[in-house]
């Protein structure tokens, strides 16, 4: 077996797989050069062990008090679960924008159609779009599987739900922040 100098550090640190470790062990037993290198590593570890860190300047209690005092000045850890809370307004905003678009889209398309007709322009795409997708209260009502004007009630209810959720989220966030502020000084 060739010399195993490149493996001696890992062998010394007990970081070799079992099979390789045994091979290195057997080799070192019969190879004076690798044996000497390993002895050097062991001697170095012993020398390094002679260097002990002195005791810290402050006592354990003093150290702890100083750290806690600095925590007060530097702020507190936010609760671990608060991260997702900040996504809630974003999600609610998306829902609200969607619902408002549902309300406004038929009117906007109609207004756009009137405008372009008034201007004497007939952009094909807009005309095609408004005829191909005739968005109206009736269409929305069909999609939502409700008849007549009931779709409006559904949309108003949905908006109410969104606002209620928003208020609920604000309440949760307020509670979490209040809990964090108290710092649980138990």
């Amino acid at each position: 077996m060739d010399h195993v100098g490149h493996l001696l550090g890992s062998y010394h640190d007990n970081e070799l797989p079992e099979g390789t470790r045994r091979l290195v062990e057997e080799h070192v037993r019969t190879c004076p050069r690798c044996h000497a290198e390993l002895s050097q590593l062991e001697a170095l570890s012993r020398a390094l062990a002679s260097y002990t860190a002195p005791d810290p300047v402050s006592s354990a209690q003093q150290f702890q008090s100083q750290v806690i005092l600095r925590l007060s000045r530097r702020g507190r850890a936010a609760p671990a679960t608060s991260g997702w809370l900040y996504l809630v307004p974003l999600a609610l905003s998306c829902v609200m924008v969607g619902l408002l678009a549902l309300f406004a889209l038929p009117g906007l398309l109609g207004a756009a159609r009137v405008l372009v007709e008034w201007a004497g322009i007939t952009p094909m795409s807009l005309v095609e779009l408004s005829t191909a997708i005739p968005i109206s209260k009736e269409t929305v009502g069909t999609v939502l599987d409700v008849g007549g004007l009931a779709w409006e009630a559904v949309l108003y209810a949905a908006l109410l739900l969104v606002f209620a959720s928003y208020a609920g989220w604000v309440g949760v966030l307020w509670r979490v922040q209040a809990r964090s502020q108290s710092g649980k000084e138990s």
Binding site: L48, P56, R70, P79
Partner: protein, 183 residues
């Protein structure tokens, strides 16, 4: 929460993440020595090591939410300490040139304890002469007994780099400390 040593780390960490300062205080007491030792062996100065240790815990508190329970708290806190120690050394470099750290000549003291002190001082000086990142790897492995994988995680380097840094550190120290290794 009581700071009883019976409380496992994860319990204290969870309470700390929830804002419980007394739980965090218990963690401070439990890991103070480890953090101080890493800082001291890296920078070689008691006052600076104490500052680094305090700042380590303050940073840990501020970043507690980024700690995941499946990770190693010891490794996580050592990583903060290592980064702060490296930053501190970078800031200090113009004032304290590490190559200027004197290497005590062997055999100057007749008494055995003087020899021991000399050897410890020689080791300290030799460690401080190592390049910063090499020194960090050596401190974590040799003094804190971390595995190569742990060292790699703390220093955010590949396993092969850990091995090469340790090998480099030992080669340099072996040369510098040869007179002290025969005892």
């Amino acid at each position: 929460m009581e700071s009883s040593p019976l409380h496992p780390d994860l319990e204290l960490i969870a309470a700390s993440q929830d804002g419980d300062r007394s739980a965090f205080g218990a963690l401070v007491l439990r890991y103070r020595r480890l953090v101080y030792n890493v800082a001291y062996r890296t920078c070689g100065d008691e006052g600076l090591a104490e500052d680094i240790a305090q700042e380590t815990f303050v940073r840990a508190w501020e970043r507690l939410n980024s700690f995941r329970p499946e990770g190693s708290w010891r490794g996580w806190i050592c990583r903060i300490a290592s980064n702060l120690a490296i930053d501190a050394l970078r800031r200090q470099r113009p004032q304290v040139e590490l190559t200027a750290v004197p290497l005590v000549a062997p055999g100057q003291g007749p008494e055995a304890h003087v020899m021991r002190d000399e050897r410890a001082e020689a080791v300290r000086s030799a460690i401080l002469r190592l390049p910063m990142h090499t020194r960090m790897a050596l401190v974590l492995r040799e003094y804190e007994g971390m595995s190569y994988a742990e060292v790699a995680k703390v220093l955010d380097i590949p396993l092969g780099t850990v091995k090469s840094r340790l090998s480099d550190a030992r080669r340099r120290l072996g040369e510098e400390l040869a007179p002290y290794m025969e005892e």
